[in-house]
């Protein structure tokens, strides 16, 4: 919020009450109020606490991070250690996805959704609030597909290897582009055939819900919403990019 120099936090006491803290966070709130800046929640230093990262600021060479200390306070880290990622992030259609793309237990940030890109920029967090970047090429016009109006990109571990992948869901399409993370900034594009689930997702009012609906620590999909339905269709991931009863294809 413009004019603020604090980050208000309401820490739950567990009984419905909260302890409200409003501690100084230097210039972080001002940076967060910049036009187009996206505020992302994640554990960016692997300490088990939720932090806040900022991307898409104009002319930045860094990803400012407010690292939570667990008591309502934050340590602001703003290491200018990136060259390419911030420039990609500034592009108008770019969407930032938070996930653990290298499986190290920390949250990372990937960018999708710009039609002309042939790469997936990723900022991998380290344990100090800093990042290192990769800008690796991605096949099969993945970003062009991600940019199609109505397409939604989801970060999740769809193959159970402990690393977040990126799945594109285009309502009405049974073939979902899936960028499987290899952990080093590279992604292998495959396609998951979800049959009628994809067709049904185009129904007016349908909403795709992402979660681990069977408790196997692999990300699943569900559909909810359209009038006249009597069910909640689920696509349960069976690991290795396979959903129960359906097929995965690709190179």
């Amino acid at each position: 919020m413009a004019g603020w120099n604090t980050i208000p936090v309401a820490l739950s006491n567990g009984d419905g009450s909260f302890a409200v803290l409003n501690q100084s966070a230097g210039d972080f709130p001002g940076l967060a109020s910049g036009p187009g800046v996206a505020k992302l929640a994640g554990d960016f230093n692997r300490d088990g606490l939720t932090d806040i990262a900022l991307v898409r600021g104009k002319g930045w060479g860094s990803i400012p991070v407010a690292l939570s200390d667990g008591t309502g306070g934050f340590t602001v880290v703003n290491i200018v250690d990136l060259t390419m990622f911030p420039m990609f992030a500034e592009e108008g259609e770019a969407q930032a996805l938070v996930g653990d793309f290298d499986g190290d237990g920390g949250s990372d940030i990937a960018l999708v959704g710009v039609a002309t890109w042939g790469v997936i920029p990723v900022a991998f967090s380290d344990a100090t609030g800093g990042f290192h970047e990769t800008v690796e090429s991605v096949a099969d016009f993945f970003q062009l597909r991600a940019s199609v109006i109505g397409t939604r990109a989801f970060a999740g571990d769809f193959d159970g290897d402990g690393m977040s992948d990126i799945l594109l869901i285009q309502p009405g399409s049974s073939l979902l582009p899936w960028a499987r993370s290899l952990g080093n900034g590279q992604f292998q594009v495959r396609y998951i055939n979800v049959g009628d689930f994809g067709l049904w997702s185009a129904a007016p009012g349908a909403q795709i819900l992402v979660g681990d609906f069977n408790g196997d620590h692999i990300t699943d999909l569900a559909l909810s919403g359209p009038a006249g339905w009597a069910t909640v269709p689920m696509m349960l991931s069976a690991g290795a990019g396979m959903f129960t009863g359906d097929q995965c294809s690709g190179r």
């Binding site: 919020m1 208000p8 309401a10 739950s12 567990g14 009984d15 419905g16 009450s17 909260f18 409200v20 409003n22 979800v194 049959g195 009628d196 689930f197 009012g205 909403q207 819900l209 992402v210 979660g211 681990d212 609906f213 069977n214 408790g215 699943d220 569900a222 909810s224 919403g225 359209p226 009038a227 006249g228 339905w229 009597a230 069910t231 909640v232 269709p233 689920m234 696509m235 349960l236 959903f243 129960t244 009863g245 359906d246």
Partner: protein
């Protein structure tokens, strides 16, 4: 694909202005689906996943259902009491409190035998939070 029947839950989830949220409200390790934000409701429907199908509960939550329809409200999912179940909080309105629906379980002894029935319920609190609520409404 599993296409599990969910009874009235499917119709409720198509209501105008409904907000669908995902979380483990039952604490069984699987993600469930809850619905809120619909004018006229006094309940918080939840479809509890067992991994292959859903059990639907529709517990009353009193004014929480009404508050969830307030303009500008954001519905937040988190485990606000550390019991392993995710709860639902409301923020973003010009209030001075922060309503929470704590997910819990009611247990009933069946009159037909020593069977304990567990039903998903929510315990609602609405404690004062001072200026925080006003700050939240600025975003």
């Amino acid at each position: 694909m599993i296409n599990a029947p969910v009874g009235d839950f499917a119709a409720w989830s198509s209501a105008t202005s409904v907000v669908r949220v995902v979380g483990d409200f039952s604490g069984n390790g699987t993600a469930d689906i809850a619905l809120t934000g619909v004018p006229g409701w006094g309940t918080l429907p939840v479809a509890v996943s067992n991994g292959s199908s859903f059990t639907v509960a529709n517990p009353g939550v009193g004014n929480f259902a009404v508050w969830s329809t307030t303009s500008g409200v954001q519905v937040l999912v988190g485990d606000f009491n550390g019991d392993g179940r995710q709860d639902i909080a409301l923020t973003g309105a010009a209030w001075n409190s922060l309503p929470i629906a704590f997910a819990s379980t009611s247990k009933t002894i069946s009159p037909l035998g020593p069977v304990v029935i567990n039903a998903n319920t929510f315990a609602v609190t609405n404690r004062s939070i001072g200026d925080f609520a006003a700050w939240a409404s600025m975003w």
